[in-house]
Subunit: 336 residues, 2 copies
């Protein structure tokens, strides 16, 4: 029997005193946004100036804490980033926590603290939340689900359907860091070294491109990585997506670990990068906009959209071509 | 090894082909709302006319299906109801599904179908979603988290802080049905009989009261039941809440099961009822408004708000008084 003062118990989920104290002392104390009213069923928001946009995401990463982040900060960045790459400014977030009986209050407090810090740093208010406790052995410490409400200004709407043959493909920085860092944190290979997750808000990156004419589409390459975004583009527009291996930035330690373990970094999740498709004539302007940001120093033009057939091709460093197949088996489950 | 064509596997969660097919064929096919764009990171919404309100809720009920509902319909009703009792009209919903490896596709399809039906019946559009797959033994079939965005019209804001000494307390129908039905479905007592969950949208009930002057506050008595709502009122307003046992509607089979098993129906969850606090002079008008609805035929005036001390008291059928303590231990975990 766990002690209710140090560990989460089923009594923390029943609607009674322990749940109230958990919400007041762990969640509300850390979050402390003016719209959060734990006595109310729904939060009253300020007027939304612009076109409202809504997105949601679930988080089941294992381990809960890894070099460069944890499930709390990741859950904020993930949802902020989905709004950012859709061209919106995130305004409000809600958080659902499914807590496994037995999680220590100290760890929960740390994770909720990171969540609150990440939200503040991204300029969004957490305005509503819910907690449930699931029995030991029916969760894995903590699952989070976050929903984000943002607004989009006037101007052309971004979308994968706006991509045209001839467009250039850019990435804002090295790929595969998050997936590799989480894998190493989990598997205890003794290979940690310099590897840490790239988990971060991409708002500075997305804002920088919104001013570039000819911007068609942005996406954050999370589950399935860069290759999966390339497949989404190829499928939605019936084009051939060509990526140039020599141009795609990959950190050396990520490359080494992938070679050693037989992973392909193009399929590994990033949590702080943006893939953008831009009119080829504006590609250099877009690249310059990213290079001017600390977060975009590693940005590169990595490929282009060509006439079909619908496929994703990697032009190798030796000048050959290799098909990047759509992901089927899961190389690396639960990285977000 | 489960067959990917009949059961959920980890490959359904990796961002690749099986996940895409799952989202297209199970989720998008059932939901089919115009704003849902599975190729986009965020849904573009229509303009919101009125003050925006946001709420979120998680669902971990066991079993996943029970007499009168299932986790899919419950997840819609729960979030619709949180907006409804806050005086809002729900407009848009997002859904997060955390699916356990091994769940059958047939059951998932049934649950998602109920979710879609409940959303349509409540007049709300599911506009965004996310799915994650967790390994066998780290979930319990399906967890859902739903977030609702609604709008509130002009007029006085409802709130627990508006409750005054002398106000009347009403409930829209019998209490404890949902908690009892889920308990029996789980425990295999062989006592099912007529018991089924009251899971439903309370929108007709909340709308009917918004026209009654003197309405202070509404809440749906879910986790912790009627007694917990009464405690919230007493604590927030430093009053004594008196409930009259003879007036509180409880279905006979619920009463029998509770007596047999030693539960108190006032602490058991409802998922389709509303507790309202109303200026005493308007209590009969509020009651009449509810009685005019099919869903409110069992409504009753069940108590009043008195000068402190801060406590919840049950006036028994014999004329005595019994303290209803704040819930501590969990009599009945995972009913929502």
């Amino acid at each position: 029997m766990s002690d209710v003062s140090t560990h989460i118990t089923l009594a923390h989920g029943n609607g009674g005193r322990f749940m109230r104290e958990l919400i007041d002392e762990v969640f509300a104390a850390a979050i402390a946004s003016p719209e959060l009213d734990v006595h109310s069923d729904a939060a009253v928001l300020g007027a939304l100036e612009g076109e409202p946009m809504l997105t949601t995401d679930g988080f089941t990463v294992q381990p809960l804490e890894f070099p460069g982040g944890n499930i709390g900060s990741l859950a904020i960045h993930g949802t902020v980033n989905d709004l950012a790459v859709a061209g919106a400014e995130p305004r409000y977030l809600t958080v659902n926590a499914l807590i496994e009986e037995g999680l220590t209050l100290a760890q929960l407090q740390r994770l909720v603290g990171s969540m609150a810090d990440a939200a503040r740093a991204s300029g969004v208010a957490i305005v509503a939340g819910d907690t449930k406790v699931v029995p030991r052995g029916q969760g894995s410490g903590l699952y989070l689900a976050t929903t984000g409400l943002g607004v989009r200004g006037p101007g052309p709407r971004l979308g994968i359907d706006r991509v045209r043959v001839g467009d250039a493909i850019l990435v804002s920085g090295p790929v595969g860091d998050h997936g590799t860092a989480v894998m190493l944190a989990r598997e205890q290979f003794g290979l940690r070294g310099d590897l840490h997750s790239d988990s971060a808000s991409v708002l500075p990156l997305s804002r920088a491109l919104l001013d570039v004419p000819g911007l068609r589409f942005m996406r954050d390459p999370t589950r399935g990585g860069l290759a999966t975004v390339a497949h989404e583009v190829a499928r939605a527009t019936r084009t051939r997506v060509l990526l140039r291996e020599a141009a795609i930035p990959v950190h050396d330690p990520v490359r080494s670990v992938c070679e050693m373990l037989g992973y392909d970094p193009y399929y590994l999740a990033c949590e702080g990068r943006v893939v953008a498709v831009v009119d080829a004539e504006q590609a250099e302007a877009a690249l310059a906009a990213w290079h001017s940001l600390e977060q975009g120093r590693g940005a590169a033009i990595i490929g282009r959209v060509e006439e079909g057939p619908e496929q994703v091709v990697l032009e190798t460093e030796l000048g050959g071509e290799r098909l990047l197949e759509e992901l089927e088996d899961d190389p690396l489950p639960r990285i977000c």
